[in-house]
């Protein structure tokens, strides 16, 4: 299993995502925003950070990077794609995931561990979890408030596409319906605001609750096709 991690200008957690993939048992492969192919990887991670400084709307510039055409094609083909934080924002801007991330309701950057439940355990990124949680994971973002129109939110829930939720009463950023992460229709593209790559090592402050995400990804159980319904 080869997991590619894209470095955009301003990506910050690319190094962490590569380390997490390796720790989960996969081979981490660095990918460059200016390239046009994915070097034959089996999964792609768009890491956290502040691509292009986020001086424009978050993710708005990065979604036009040359490598994104290859990511779109890979995703359309059923390839597993994970967007973490800024990566989630980029996937939303790219139209690969529904909705948008707005400024936190408290209008401040929020950095703290949060608990999330895994609402759906049949995606490539959640099949490693043996129960829904709650699981602890660091969150660190200024624009993490998940937003979509009510019809879209209804559809996401009806289609079982809410993958992660904050605990009721502990929503850190005002996200609609406590949504922390969503998937596309096929379930192969997943985005979330918390940082699973910071929760893969029990010796570190972030703990290891999300090692299951990378271990599950590395265990090459289902083919991409088996995910489509």
């Amino acid at each position: 299993m080869r997991v590619g991690v894209i470095t955009f200008p301003g990506s910050l957690d690319d190094h962490d995502a590569l380390a997490a993939a390796t720790r989960g048992g996969a081979e981490g492969v660095g990918l460059w925003h200016g390239d046009t192919d994915l070097s034959g990887v089996d999964a792609v991670v768009l890491p956290g950070g502040f691509s292009y400084g986020d001086y424009l709307r978050t993710g708005a510039i990065a979604q036009h990077a040359p490598i994104m055409a290859a990511v779109r094609a890979f995703a359309a083909d059923g390839g597993p794609v994970l967007g973490i934080c800024n990566g989630f924002q980029i996937l939303c801007e790219a139209g690969l995931l529904p909705g948008a991330l707005l400024r936190n309701s408290g209008l401040r950057f929020v950095s703290r561990p949060v608990f999330v439940t895994v609402e759906r355990r049949d995606t490539p990124f959640t099949r490693g979890f043996d129960h829904p949680g709650p699981w602890s994971v660091p969150l660190k973002s200024g624009e993490g408030c998940y937003h979509a129109d009510p019809a879209t939110l209804d559809r996401l829930e009806a289609e079982d596409r809410v993958v992660f939720r904050y605990l009721p009463g502990d929503n850190p950023n005002g996200s609609a319906r406590n949504i922390a992460g969503v998937s596309n229709e096929a379930g192969n593209v997943v985005g979330l605001m918390p940082h699973p790559e910071h929760a893969v090592d029990d010796d570190l402050a972030g703990g290891d609750d999300f090692l299951a995400m990378f271990a599950g990804l590395a265990s090459d159980v289902p083919e991409h096709e088996s995910l489509s319904r």
Binding site: L12, G53, R108, F109, S111, L204, A205
Partner: protein, 783 residues
């Protein structure tokens, strides 16, 4: 020895002696300093030269008032790979790795424009770190603000104070979060003495393979100077001389253009670009551009190599083409580096820069001789000995005088305080809960909850989790620990003993997490050195700093001096009111062989035994948080700290941590025993029952800040082993209680519900400072 100076300069660069002297004065050059410039040049300076000398000879760049005293800090250690005078200190931490670290202030800019002032403070210290060849892996911030619970006039109003706190915290976070370096701790202090002169000190730590250390020694004639990074604009011109080297007066708004604007995204690209250049071994030298920009970096590189440099200012990429030569030279535009490369490597350097989208321009060349020559539009605009600018500025041994007001402190009765609830059988628990909610003692979650503390996957103990921050080094089990501490009230009371205590505290904090302290850095924040009283404080503090760091084996590897921390904005003219408390902030670095064994502050397990290690509780209310909280005049005498005991205590803490005996360790400091218990209990979400073994005045037992005391908890089956370690090292220990329950209980004195303490602890800071919260006259928060 000097070559014959060129005598013809463009008309717009040429000054008469009279005009040059006048202009020099406006730029902050004293009359005799101007004469020294003329002597160095052998003629009247050009406009560009005058600009360069005024900035480079400013207090901020030249350390002219502190240099003679800083020599006392010199220390040698085989571990130190780069010491004072370099951009940052570098120490060998074993395993082929070296760590660069340094603390620096950005006080004045942060008062004038809090967000950008603080943000560029982070950016500047990070450049000092990666200039040495190291990848930045952590930052810490030491912040001092006015008391936001007191409402005064103008800048002392609560709204103004909150805006400063808010802007600074957003600035530190905004830059650090976006540049991708984790914040692992620091301190946040609120005290009215900083109301019109906040202190924003940022420490940064970086790591590198030993062989990547960049020292400016490899230059050769013909090497090419390449300016990397942001374009040069008019922002921040004169920041060093105008902002950092003068007191504040009215007219803050006018100084806003002197504050630089940060671009953390560009800095991130610049970091990656420079690290790739080092890895490819393409550079012969590199210098960051902070204060005094191109003037400073070209002069320092040339001077360090005992060579000259020819620079073409037309090649500098500019934001505004109309900029005058002196503006280009003195611009403090951020996120710029000056690199030297062998001519054969220039194309590769430019290619690496292009890959990271970092603008780069070839602007000059290293030449034989000692002259720094700068050209603009084909004409020479400055021609001066590089060394005169960088290393031969004025130094002063300014007059010092022990302030008369010191006598008043000694006669204050500090150790016998009327504690509400203690003397009159009132509500002691209620008083303590309120005391713990005072913003300097309360948890700083509101502050560091806005900082990324996780990025780059090494953080073992982040802000507030341990007495020091701990980061595991990449590719290693080894970690580094760092603590950053200051205490202005102690140092005002007694600059020598206060400084020793602060050094001891930072040292102890590093030891508490289980690390071995190995080196130190410092940021010396003081008032106007032209006042003999302030100069006495500075000199006294430096002497104590040198003595304490030598005794404890943590040699000074560098640091920063910030003077003129005085302000007449909205205040009186009396020196006692205008200057800040003398505030040396000390950073201590430690190494821990197995970072996973680091010990945090939180109580962990019901039934663990609580021990007090080190000294007994001594009278320690002079200069204390309690004295401040009760609005009593600062005074009393500081009990002397026993540095030998501190060293032994550190040995025990290190050995106990390595043996896995400790579940928590937290020193007793600001706020005394009650504050230490509250920190550990709230963090661990578990109570504690203390049974005092000492027969002491209850006020001292609960609130004394006497040094050399650490509370540790250990499982009962490790007690014997811990006692043996203490006996071997001759460190006293006392069994003082048990972890467990839902109260913080000090037998016979105090019972606090954990819930009340948590509430007080977590709400103290946001209630006081969050501008989005409205506080009523009674302190109720309305959301």
């Amino acid at each position: 020895m000097t070559q014959t100076p060129v005598t013809t300069f463009p008309a717009d660069e040429t000054l008469t002696d009279e005009r040059a002297r006048e202009l020099g004065h406006e730029l902050g050059l004293r009359r005799d300093e101007y004469d020294q410039v003329v002597e160095a040049l052998g003629r009247v300076p050009t406009v560009s030269e005058l600009g360069m000398y005024s900035v480079m000879w400013s207090e901020h760049c030249s350390y002219k008032s502190s240099k003679v005293h800083l020599r006392r800090l010199e220390a040698t250690s085989p571990r130190i790979l780069a010491g004072p005078g370099e951009n940052a200190g570098v120490v060998d931490v074993g395993d082929g790795l070296a760590v660069a670290f340094k603390v620096e202030s950005h006080n004045h800019p942060s008062f004038v424009e809090p967000y950008q002032g603080a943000a560029t403070g982070v950016g500047g210290i990070l450049r000092d770190i990666f200039t040495m060849g190291a990848r930045p892996i952590a930052v810490m911030d030491s912040l001092r603000f006015g008391d936001p619970t007191v409402d005064g006039l103008g800048p002392r109003s609560r709204a103004f104070q909150r805006a400063i706190v808010d802007g600074v915290v957003r600035g530190v976070g905004g830059y650090g979060n976006c540049v991708g370096v984790p914040n692992i701790g620091g301190e946040t202090v609120f005290d009215d003495r900083y109301a019109t002169n906040p202190l924003v000190n940022v420490l940064a730590i970086g790591v590198m393979p030993v062989e990547r250390l960049q020292l400016a020694t490899a230059e050769q004639v013909g090497d090419v100077a390449i300016l990397l990074g942001s374009s040069t604009g008019r922002d921040g011109i004169g920041g060093a001389s105008v902002l950092a080297s003068q007191e504040f007066d009215e007219g803050l708004e006018d100084k806003r253009p002197n504050v630089q604007v940060g671009d953390p995204f560009r800095e991130k690209s610049l970091i990656e670009c420079c690290l790739e250049l080092y890895d490819r071994d393409l550079l012969a030298g590199i210098q960051d551009m902070g204060a005094a920009g191109i003037a400073c970096s070209t002069a320092e590189l040339a001077s360090a190599a005992s060579m000259g440099m020819d620079v073409d200012l037309d090649a500098v990429h500019l934001r505004e083409p109309s900029m005058a030569s002196w503006e280009i030279l003195c611009s403090e535009s951020q996120e710029r580096m000056l690199a030297l490369a062998h001519p054969d490597g220039v194309d590769e350097v430019l290619a690496v820069a292009a890959r990271w989208d970092v603008p780069a321009s070839v602007i000059g060349e290293v030449v034989a001789g000692d002259r720094l020559r700068l050209h603009r539009r084909g004409e020479l605009v400055a021609d001066l000995p590089a060394r005169s600018l960088a290393d031969e500025g004025p130094t002063y041994d300014r007059p010092r005088e022990r302030p008369a007001w010191q006598d008043g402190y000694g006669i204050v009765v500090a150790e016998d305080l009327p504690i509400p609830g203690l003397a009159d059988d009132g509500d002691l628990a209620g008083f303590v809960a309120k005391f713990l909610a005072s913003p300097s003692l309360a948890a700083a979650d509101w502050v560091h909850g806005q900082y990324d503390s996780w990025v780059r996957g090494g953080t073992v103990l982040g802000p507030g989790q341990g007495d020091a921050g701990v980061v595991r080094l990449p590719g290693s089990a080894r970690g580094i620990a760092c603590a950053l501490d200051g205490n202005g009230r102690w140092c005002e009371l007694d600059p020598a003993e206060g400084t020793r205590r602060v050094v001891a505290e930072a040292f102890r904090n590093v030891a508490c997490v289980g690390a071995t302290p190995i080196a130190s850095t410092n940021c010396l924040n003081f008032g106007n050195p032209e006042r003999p009283e302030i100069m006495w404080q500075l000199a006294t503090s430096i002497e104590a700093l040198g003595e304490a760091t030598r005794t404890l084996g943590i040699p000074v590897t560098g640091g920063n001096v910030s003077l003129y921390n005085e302000s007449r904005v909205g205040g009186s003219d009396d020196p006692r009111d205008t200057h800040i408390w003398p505030t040396p902030v000390i950073g201590v670095l430690g190494v821990i062989d197995d970072a996973a064994m680091a010990v945090g502050q939180a109580f962990v397990q019901e039934g663990d035994v609580v021990f007090l290690l080190g000294d007994e509780t001594r009278p320690g209310l002079a200069g204390s948080a309690l004295q401040a909280y009760l609005d009593l005049p600062l005074g009393g005498r500081l009990a002397p700290v026993d540095l030998d005991l501190e060293a032994r205590l550190a040995v025990v803490l290190g050995e106990a941590a390595r043996a896995g005996l400790l579940h928590s360790a937290h020193d007793i400091s600001d706020g005394g025993l009650v504050a230490a218990l509250a920190d550990s209990a709230v963090l661990g979400d578990i109570g504690v029952q203390i049974v005092p073994t000492e027969r002491k005045d209850p006020a001292q037992l609960l609130f004394s800040e006497s040094p050399s005391r650490v509370l540790v908890t250990t499982p009962s089956d490790s007690v014997r082993e811990l006692a043996r370690l203490c006996a071997d090292a001759e460190v006293p220990l006392a069994d003082v209680g048990t972890v467990g329950g839902t109260t913080i209980d000090v037998q016979g004195l105090l019972t606090l519900s954990l819930e009340d303490v948590r509430d007080a602890h977590l709400r103290g800071v946001p209630t006081a400072v969050d501008p989005s919260l409205v506080t009523t006259a009674t302190g109720e928060v309305v959301t």
